[in-house]
Amino acid sequence: MLRINRLRVEINTANGMYGIDETFKNGLNFVASIENTCGKSSILAAIYYCLGFEQILGGVAGIGSKVLTSAFKNVIDDGGKSWNVTESGAYLEISNGIEIVTVYRNIKAENKDNRLVTVYYNSFDAIGDPKTLADDFYVNIQHAATGEKGFHAFLEEFLHLELPLVRTSDGNERKLYLQVIFSSMFIEQKHGWSDILSGMPVFGIRESKKRVVEYILGLDTLKNEKERDLLNAVKAQLEREWEKLISEIQRIVFSESCTIINLPPRPRILVDTDYSRIAITTHRGITINEEIGSLQTEYSSLRQLKPRVLDNFNALNEELSETETAILELEADLGNILKRLAYTSETISRLSSDLEIVNSDIRNNEDAARLQKFGSEAANDELSVNVCPTCKQHIQDNLLSSVAVSGFMNIEENIRHLKEQKKMLEFSLNSRKNTYEELQREKQQLEAKLLTLRRLAQTLRSDLYTTTDTEASEAIILKKIEISSRIERLSKLQDALTSFIDQLKNLSDQWNTYLDKKKKLPNRNISESDNEKIKLLKSRFISNLRRYNYSSLSSFDGIEISEESLLPTIDGFDMKFDSSASDGIRVIWAFTMALLQVSIEKHGNHPGVIIFDEPAQQSIVPADMSSFINSAAELGEMCQIITAITLNSQELIGIVDGLDIKTYHRITIMDKAFKLFEIKS
């Protein structure tokens, strides 16, 4: 719930402080004046500005005090005399029904950025109290909606709004910004009356109007959206675990110089045949069991050998020369790998330094792009990089004297160009790093093998040169040890494979559940309770239209709230096509009020505040204005409706005077909105 309690604008001039200090009440509020152009819109604009919603007034680019009139920033007119504005700012006291805070945002200040908002955790009257805590927040810059020091993040928490994440047109996710939501309840004078939700700033949010209606009514579709997000997280988690498991088993298998085949690289549902196809083969291309079997036969054949050296002299001799050849081959392989390793690491360091250069290039180019903008501000718009400052002819933005055939890239193209280069370098660097790791692994394997062979050769030699007959052959004993330890390691690997398959089964089951849950999510279907809310919105909307004398249609039968867009349509078409200009205004009245009514009845998320700037647009007859005002007054204390109104006819004055004095609060502006507070002594 949001309530606007009090607005105080302070504008300092040499003549003293001008401004306005008004209180707003629950229920219906009028900001009224007899004539137009008295600053009613300025008062409303100051409210928007304090809440950081100036983009509703000026579009996405309209950030900061640009959207405010010159009385806030430049010159104040007082009885024919004009005074220069020295510094200015505005206080807005707001409440969420329980707590009260006061927001201060400066409009013109020499030393304070107007994107800085100060929040005092108390009412305006208590600001002077040194015990009142205050905090600075940023508004309308990056992270203002999400960051810890972001004003809109603060406001979201203060108003107990839980803003959903919505999809943007570039496929990312973003918060449904407060500016976007409030554009459906703050109807501004210039854009606001042209169409339903027309004042909405464009932030690249997909179907932003629909999302806003969904949010205000509290529809389940948003919940489903959230569920979908959750599932996406589950999916990512599963994929990560799957990948980790696969690379883990690969590492173990490789370290035993074996390979594993038929691994499923991406998550999918596996059946028994898939599991049985996963197998480990040794470097000789046979399975572990076969390898163990052959090792065992070798082992037992060793036992049959007489362990005496003299008896085996010839066999030992032969074996030694075989081993030595094998060692030579392995050494050659190793040398090769070492060469490639050196080459790869050289390439990696070269690519890394290239990447560094490109990165710094990109940064500097981005700086240069921003400097162009800066320069033109500093040189009073005289600096433009495409125009020669002396002769005003077209030039290229570069300092090189040579002329390229097809000209030079402009800075944006240049940045894109560099970013592509960066991508290429990163890709290349990555693949080199992978190769490097692979080579490292191979090298370790070879070294281990070499070590075994060298040890064998050494024992063979010492066997051959031994002098005593009685001594047992060291080589045979060594071989026995080697073989039994290899058998042990292989059976360990076999066990690892079994446990790996168990884990894989588990993941596959989880994947199955995930797919099932994903399937269960309603695609576009609208839930039962949502349907009810949309029906209620329709009936409220139509009864509002009837009350405001919507006359472009003879019957209201064709009016629907489209499930596609959640906006009103006539026979499937946009309402605007078939409405007269004044009926267009009635549609906006009716829809804005209907949103509030449904949200109150169905406990939706409407903060309960509406601002109308001059609802009497387009020659609305006073009778309809009267029913509009009455319908607003009927909602009473449950909400706050602020209406700027020009009482330029007797009928309008009659309508307002005819209301029960208890049902509304009136702020009358005489002459000019900003009055002198105090004369400077």
Binding site: N365, F374, E377, V385, D397, L399, V405, M409, H417
Partner: protein
């Protein structure tokens, strides 16, 4: 002739615009010169040679280190590359009204140029490495030092 299907159509080479290194962008170099004068010049004033020296030092880390050591009086005479780009950028800066020439030949920032340099510093995330380097160098490289260096060139390399 051999039947070579590959050669039937015309091959058209389309020239593409050239990429320009950031150092040769007007906006970048002009801003760099303004910052040098603001941060390293006494009274926002620098001689042409000093501008060349610092601009070249900003090219790379090691260049900058050499210059800082020379300015501190601990290093040997640094090598300076005189880049015509600096002169060109200087003419632009004068035309934009950021820089004016003094009667003694050195260059001084105008009020507009001072404002421009201060604004760049204020933003905090523009040209950060340049600004931190220039702040380290600060005003240590005096015109006397520059003259000393020029003298050294004259005596040591006169024969070259």
């Amino acid at each position: 002739m051999e039947d070579n299907t590959l050669l039937y159509g015309d091959i058209v080479f389309d020239a593409k615009p050239d990429a320009v290194p950031y150092n040769y962008r007007i906006s970048y170099k002009v801003s760099q010169l303004c910052l040098i004068m603001r941060l390293c010049g006494w009274g926002d004033t620098c001689s042409l040679i000093k501008l060349h020296m610092i601009s070249f030092a900003l090219f790379s880390r090691s260049n900058m280190n050499n210059l800082i050591q020379f300015a501190d009086g601990t290093g040997s005479a640094p090598i300076v590359r005189f880049d015509p780009v600096v002169n060109r950028a200087l003419s632009y800066a004068i035309a934009y009204g950021f820089v004016g020439q003094q009667p003694n030949g050195s260059y001084k920032l105008t009020e507009q140029g001072q404002r421009f340099a201060d604004q760049i510093k204020l933003v905090k995330d523009l040209m950060t490495t340049e600004i931190s380097d220039l702040n380290t160098l600060a005003k240590k490289l005096t015109e006397t030092k520059v003259k000393e260096l020029v003298e050294m060139w004259r005596t040591n390399h006169a024969k070259d």
